[in-house]
Symmetry: C2
Subunit: 336 residues, 2 copies
DNA sequence: CTGTTAGCGCGTTCAC
DNA sequence: GTGAACGCGCTAACAG
């Protein structure tokens, strides 16, 4: 049952039926109503695939994320999906499982069947990215490549605030638990941390790299303890929670003995005990803005001027950070 | 740049090029290699949309979940995506935000552009579901409709085990915090709970309904406390964690004063303190099996015989459940 | 084994 | 304002 059936039944040509669905104003009112009535009655819907072929556009976009089941990816994906469908776009989702090769493969597979591609924290080489972007409109998230529009969250300041916060609480030995090396997220967090440490006259001491998961935090906790630090800034919330759990198992109390700060502010942060002090990243906003950028690029609107959108992060103080323990040594070191 | 260009350049007909990509064995080795070389050189890839139109199949499936950002949905989605692409299928994802109307709308929008549709815990009316299933192959998850293949997790036994577990620990007043009314998940959990209570000679007392989120658990905790129960089975982990948090804020210790059991075994369960005793649902397996069923249905293979797949759940005992408090009254009531 | 012929269902000129 | 004709890029049926 196609456009021709409707046309025949309505006593018009297929072209007219097509117009009714694409440029209704170009059809006489009477004809239009008749056609619409018939279409409704026959429950006719234009075949999306045929339409895509004829138009040269699919009405779909694709997103490739590191891990679909990861809370942060999921929030971005959700926002992307909501924003995309506001404009009538359907969304392909693919997970790379944090493997650069797979990521590239799936992105390539998606490219020819979408109008645009959204790559979240992509791992593939610059060249592969550029090549892809030459094929189809691409927007990046948490990655910067010359000439490819991107939305990033600039956590530098907020991470600095976190360090200041801990410093103000008397902490002088603050460790950063590094995430995936080379990832934009880790670079930004690390540099924000280093910068703040320098500003405040503290030594910057990163541990790691660790992967971004709970188990990595568990492992990191013991190293942390051995380091003698009184506070820790974890790569993200999940790692931070791993740290807290392990510390707790070893009888170290948070924040009484050690302060822990995360990054992300996923829903997890409010669910754990103690509630996690963390740097909130605007995940949903990142997703929304990325879609806006992508749809603009697809529509051929100039994207150059705002091709790099940097959204700010924000320190959220909760219960996992507190005053430095009143150890004699620490006091002496911390006092003026 | 299309199949014709490759054909011309390779000195063959478009049909031959097509064959090289679809049934290589039907082409002479020499011709095949020549065509492949040319295609490679021109970086030619068959246009998926055109292919879909000609074949009448899109090579895509769609999934509609209640909430993309929800941990349980995300795990299913991830498994579905991984399983689907093993067979070369790309995945459309859409979230309903737990609104029956939207769910129906997006499912309808997806239907004409996919080979099959996966509906996770759908909320729309039976008739709407049937109508949809008449349009395109559909597989359901956590919902039973005559004639539509489905994968469900039968948590009845495992929920029963949870109740037995608490009973064995001395608990005699166990409350169930009900989830979304009418949802299959809630029905199963409720009936498993009731059944076990009956078997063990306890009164079944459900509170709620509550929605499936953390905040609902926080709210439920106070009602729970007022009820005088010594143990609680929450609709899911997130609610359970909400309960634990609120109890903790009110100075009630878990499991010392009250035992809490969740359902799902999302990653959250191992991240909170105390680690959550919970009923593990095989989310990933559900996703995988649903895809297998769907792909079989798409391929026209008979799905009838195993149109209802019930996967078992399993009680995971961790630290949030313990012996009933040694109150005089409770002891008296609990002893034979 | 290969080429020719027809569509798949729709959008879009171009005349009328 | 409407219809006829053509093409989007590919696959499938039929000859040869």
């Amino acid at each position: 049952m196609s456009i021709r059936d409707v046309a025949a039944r309505a006593g018009v040509s297929p072209a007219t039926v097509s117009r009714v669905f694409t440029q209704p104003d170009a059809v006489a009112v009477g004809t239009r109503q008749r056609v619409m009535a018939v279409a409704e009655e026959m429950r006719y819907t234009p075949h999306p695939v045929a339409r895509s072929l004829a138009r040269g556009r699919t009405g779909t976009i694709g997103i490739v994320v590191p891990d679909i089941a990861n809370a942060f990816s999921a929030v971005i994906t959700k926002a992307v999906q909501q924003e995309a469908r506001r404009d009538g776009y359907a969304l392909f989702v693919s997970g790379s499982d944090e493997l650069a090769d797979d990521e590239e493969r799936w992105a390539r597979a998606l490219a020819p069947q979408v109008d645009g591609l959204l790559l979240v924290s992509p791992l593939m080489p610059d060249d592969a990215l550029r090549e892809l972007a030459a094929t189809v409109p691409v927007v990046l998230t948490n990655r910067l490549i010359d000439g490819i529009p991107a939305v990033v969250t600039d956590a530098t300041d907020a991470v600095g605030h976190a360090v200041e916060h801990l410093h103000a609480l008397g902490h002088r030995r603050i460790v950063y638990l590094a995430g995936p090396p080379g990832s934009y997220s880790n670079e930004i967090r690390l540099s924000g941390y280093r910068e703040a440490c320098g500003r405040l006259g503290m030594d910057a001491a990163a541990l790691g790299p660790f992967n971004a998961r709970f188990s990595a935090g568990v492992r990191a906790a013991d190293l942390l303890l051995a380091s003698g630090a009184t506070a820790v800034l974890a790569y993200n919330d999940e790692v931070a929670v791993g740290v807290v759990n392990r510390l707790s198992d070893r009888g170290v109390r948070v924040p009484h003995d050690i302060s822990v700060v995360g990054v992300d502010d996923t829903s997890l942060a409010e669910m754990v005990t103690p509630r996690l002090t963390t740097v909130r990243l605007p995940a949903a906003a990142v997703g929304r803005e990325a879609v806006r950028l992508l749809l603009d690029a697809i529509a051929g609107r100039d994207v150059e001027e705002r091709s790099l959108l940097a959204l700010p992060a924000e320190l959220i103080i909760r219960a996992s950070s507190g005053p430095v323990p009143a150890t004699v040594g620490e006091r002496a070191a911390g006092a003026p």
